[in-house]
């Protein structure tokens, strides 16, 4: 099939545009015509190409790090739609909205089509030769760069792209691969690693009888939402599990909970410890903790905890009772619990509950050891960016390469990243579309879209065994002046290390060689070409490995237990500020996709905009109506957005969604809403040094202006006594019987 791929590219080139012209005419030609339109014809197509019939190709979604297998429907050389790949364990034939919108990355009208080079203040289009020459002169054999003078700033990255990034750095003797993630989960992972023994353990959601989640949005913006959603669907089948969510602002997962509690931001740890204290009252759990820890939990009685957290006091014994009864359970910590100064401790306290409830080995498993550690996804963090920022500020970085990240947009105000970036003499951005960071670079190279490029990926969360996901082009490239990320890096590495890489004419052959070399690991007995073709056809290489055991040295001892203390009220900044992360826009990198902009936020149904969530009770006290433009001011900055009255939020808290507020990210993103990243106060987790995203405090001021909130919801958000969504009690529904009837 290797030759076929190339041939396919060939015929695609011939066809690409002709087919499309016919579609749009759907509103033009309304009568019988002869001789007005051209009819498509092929020169030398593959036998399986039949005009008018769609063909599916497997690939991998790169919209987030979940690594879902996808299938693209290709017709007449155009990729039309993405579906989930049933052969992929992660997507299991399903796909989320964000993944669907992958085609709009590819067809985006604001795609960068030629290389850009800085001339004075502006970026001017240049030819590839010129861009390549500039790149070669800086990074070629004649380069004087040495060691960490060259740095590569990436977002989450895995597979052979990661290998190429590191190979390039290595050829300079640099290990300055900075992985930055604005929404990093480092704190939670660290706590999990410490308490449970694995930073990202395998969650057997479908096995749990009860899930207690502290702000973990596993159905929405969490890790691998498509896989989690399928697990959740099974969790809801008989015997139906119970989901309880505790968080300051309702997430999509919270909206699906059987019981939702609003909690004061940052007090999740206190609540968890209170719950631990209550759990220990049961004889079966009585001595599951070290005695001194158990003793330290004494002050965490339900009334104190209730006072600190703002959650009703009876919630704790009630939850404890349920957890005793419904076993195995699963306790999850999430970003809203972790993004605080004592975020690590919050997360650790939450994980402590898993220890008490003895969930390890039942609903919490260790993940398999990956046979190709070099391919494994590199986890991003905020502290990495801080370090890079210091290096840049000190002039230690001479050349910075950027891909898959937009720190100028996501870095908080107090981190003068944009300033320090200008101190780097040579900055190269690899992008499919210009963003705020690329605008500040010296050389911007247009990449092939993920649907035009080859690649391999390893999911950041691998539910069982190990997989390598294969990404292959679903379409001939749209713009001749774009190149694959792997190809560009390979060209550079070839210049530096010709002896190793000269055998590979392009990234494709490199990839093919690398993948086929791994054949023995996957216990394949077929020939190389056949193995490669099979891999492309199924889109995934899979190896079943047993789950590793979960062990941790420190365990419960990590948790610090202080005397519970009611949070101070800040007179200047009376409100807690929690950002909300939308499953589709994430940190803002997808704000350029029109489908996602027009896809209503599931909870508020707002589109194309930013807004301020405020509890109706608070709004009433402050006489705020929906659409009133509020000024949200933190110690760091202030911004304006429309008020949205949202009952799913703790009354002392306001929230704004991340991802909007772009200024240079194409027509669909620019000017839509505001960017709350610029509101964050310099608060850091005391253990990991990560930015505490949920710890900022703000004051709300009315500006006296009012504007229409653009949303799908009408003037009412209630069913008005119509039987639209009926609800039935879990004890009354007979899910098992239903299921039996259908499967019989």
């Amino acid at each position: 099939m290797s030759s076929r791929i190339l041939d396919r590219r060939d015929f695609l080139r011939v066809l690409g545009i002709g087919g499309a012209a016919a579609t749009l005419a759907g509103c033009g030609n309304t009568s019988i015509e002869s001789g007005k339109e051209l009819v498509m014809s092929y020169v030398q197509p593959e036998d399986f190409v039949v005009p008018g019939v769609g063909v599916y190709y497997a690939s991998t979604c790169t919209q987030c790090g979940s690594g879902c297998g996808i299938m693209g429907r290709v017709r007449e050389g155009r990729i039309l739609k993405l579906e989930g790949n049933p052969q992929s364990l992660i997507s299991a034939g399903k796909i989320c909205g964000l993944g669907q919108a992958g085609v709009q990355v590819h067809y985006n009208p604001d795609r960068l089509r030629t290389p850009l080079m800085r001339e004075g203040d502006t970026l001017k289009p240049v030819s590839w030769e010129k861009a390549q020459a500039s790149l070669n002169s800086r990074l070629g054999p004649a380069s004087t760069l040495a060691g960490n003078q060259i740095a590569f700033l990436t977002g989450e990255i895995s597979g052979h792209q990661k290998v190429m990034v590191e190979a390039l750095l290595e050829s300079f003797g640099s290990d300055n691969h900075v992985v930055y993630d604005a929404l990093s989960t480092v704190t939670g992972r660290a706590a999990s690693k410490a308490v449970i023994g694995e930073s990202l353990p395998v969650l057997k959601i479908d096995q749990a009888r009860m899930i207690l989640s502290f702000g973990n949005d596993f159905l929405g913006s969490g890790v691998s939402p498509v896989y989690m959603a399928a697990q959740y669907a099974r969790f809801r089948k008989a015997p139906r599990g119970t989901l309880v969510q505790i968080e300051p602002r309702m997430t999509l997962t919270g909206a699906n909970a059987d019981r939702w509690y609003a909690i004061k931001p940052g007090t999740e740890g206190v609540f968890a410890l209170g719950l631990a204290h209550a759990l220990l009252a049961h004889e079966s759990y009585a001595h599951s903790l070290p005695a001194e820890l158990e003793a330290a939990l004494k002050p965490y009685d339900k009334d104190t905890v209730s006072e600190v957290t703002g959650v009703h006091a009876e919630a704790i014994p009630h939850l404890a009772g349920m957890l005793w009864e419904k076993s195995p359970s699963l306790v999850l910590s999430g970003p809203s619990a972790e993004g605080h100064v004592r975020g690590f401790n919050n997360a650790a306290a939450i994980q402590l509950l898993n220890l008490i409830l003895n969930n390890r080995g039942r609903s919490l498993l260790g993940s398999a050891v990956h046979p190709f550690p070099q391919l494994v996804s590199a986890t991003g963090s905020y502290s990495a960016l801080v370090k890079l920022n210091q290096d840049m500020s000190a002039g230690r970085v001479q050349t910075l390469l950027l891909v898959g990240t937009n720190p100028v947009f996501t870095a908080p105000t107090f981190l003068p990243f944009a300033n320090n970036l200008s101190k780097v003499p040579f900055k190269v951005a690899f992008v499919t579309q210009l963003d705020e960071t690329a605008h500040q670079c010296d050389l911007v190279l247009p990449l092939l879209s993920p649907l035009e490029d080859f690649g391999t990926h390893v999911a950041s969360y691998q539910p069982s065994g190990v997989e390598v996901q294969i990404q292959q082009p679903l379409m001939e490239k749209l713009y001749p002046e774009t190149r694959g990320f792997g190809d560009i890096l390979l060209e550079l590495v070839k210049l530096r290390r010709p002896e190793v890489y000269k055998a590979f004419p392009d990234y494709y052959s490199y990839l093919k060689t690398a993948v086929t070399k791994a054949k023995p690991v996957f216990k394949a007995t077929t020939g190389d070409d056949e193995f490669w073709e099979d891999a492309l056809r199924s889109g995934v290489l899979r190896l079943d490995l047993p789950a590793a055991a979960l062990e941790s040295k420190e365990g419960a001892s990590v948790v610090q237990v202080d005397t519970p203390r009611v949070l101070d009220t800040d007179v200047h900044y009376p409100f807690f500020f929690v950002p909300s992360v939308r499953a589709d826009l994430r940190d803002g990198r997808h704000a350029n996709l029109p489908w996602l902009q027009e896809s209503p936020d599931p909870l508020t149904t707002v589109v194309w905009d930013s807004w301020v969530d405020i509890h109706p009770k608070t709004a009433n006290e402050m006489q705020i109506r929906e659409g009133d433009i509020l000024e949200v001011q933190s110690a760091t900055g202030s911004m304006r957005a429309k008020a949205y009255l949202f009952p799913g939020i703790q009354p002392d808290t306001v929230s704004m969604p991340l991802g909007q507020g772009h200024t240079a990210y194409g027509r669909y993103a620019d000017g839509m809403g505001v960017n709350p990243f610029k509101l964050f106060d310099p608060m850091f987790d005391e253990k990991t040094g990560e930015l505490a995203l949920y710890a900022t405090r703000v004051i709300i001021k009315k500006t006296g202006e009012n504007a229409l909130v653009v949303k799908d919801e009408g003037p009412t958000s209630l069913q008005q006594n119509r039987k639209l969504v009926a609800t039935i009690g879990a004890d009354q529904a007979q899910l098992a019987k239903e299921n039996a009837h259908v499967t019989e």
Binding site: A22, T30, I32, S34, K36, V43, V53
Partner: protein
């Protein structure tokens, strides 16, 4: 009284004129008046093609089955213009006609690896989705009618044309006139059925 009738006739013919003028925009693809015994005959315009493909030679003299070249007709909604390498497959080997201007032109396209910009002759409105596969499967494969009859019902006697020309109105009423006929379900039965009468078969 004769005067009356005469006046009446004048009035009526005047109104008929006005009526037909008004009816013109209502009748794309041929008015109802233009019927012949096999349906609605409405000769389309002559379409200038890149070069004059002789259907009469291929389908007529040689008797090549339509689906030899229009291969997709039996498995896709579109019948498809034959791919260039299909033309070349034969013409590379036919020395006798190699110097003819049309064949030279064919070779030029092949050498450039460019598709020939054929013009559509049977171009239905964009909201109409005619499916070749269904008709070929039904009438050629199942009912075992001859290929010339099957294709020719809509495309006319292509074997007598050089470049194809539209000979049927292809109006909706014409489609329905055939759909409402009773057709044999297959060659070995007397059971009949008619075409679908569901709008969504063709418009969606």
């Amino acid at each position: 009284m004769n005067v009356c009738i005469k006046k009446l006739m004048v009035w009526l013919s005047l109104w008929a004129l006005v009526g037909s003028a008004l009816a013109e925009p209502f009748a794309p693809g041929g008015a109802i008046g233009s019927q012949t015994d096999d349906g609605y005959n409405a000769l389309g315009p002559v379409v200038e093609q890149p070069f004059e493909f002789p259907h009469n030679v291929h389908a007529g003299q040689m008797g090549i089955n339509c689906m030899y070249c229009h291969t997709y007709a039996r498995r896709s909604a579109v019948s498809g213009i034959p791919r260039l390498d299909k033309c070349m497959g034969c013409h590379k080997l036919i020395e006798s006609v190699k110097d003819k201007p049309r064949i030279k032109k064919l070779f030029e396209y092949w050498d450039k690896k460019e598709p020939i910009p054929w013009k559509k002759v049977h171009d239905l409105p964009d909201f109409v989705r005619f499916n070749h596969e269904r008709h070929i499967q039904r009438f050629y494969f199942r009912e075992k009618r001859s290929i010339r009859e099957t294709c020719g019902y809509c495309h006319g006697d292509v074997a007598s044309m050089t470049t194809a020309r539209r000979v049927k109105a292809l109006s909706m009423g014409w489609c329905i006139s055939c759909h409402q006929k009773e057709h044999l379900e297959n060659a070995s039965t007397t059971k009949t059925s008619n075409g679908p009468n569901d709008c969504w078969q063709c418009h969606k």
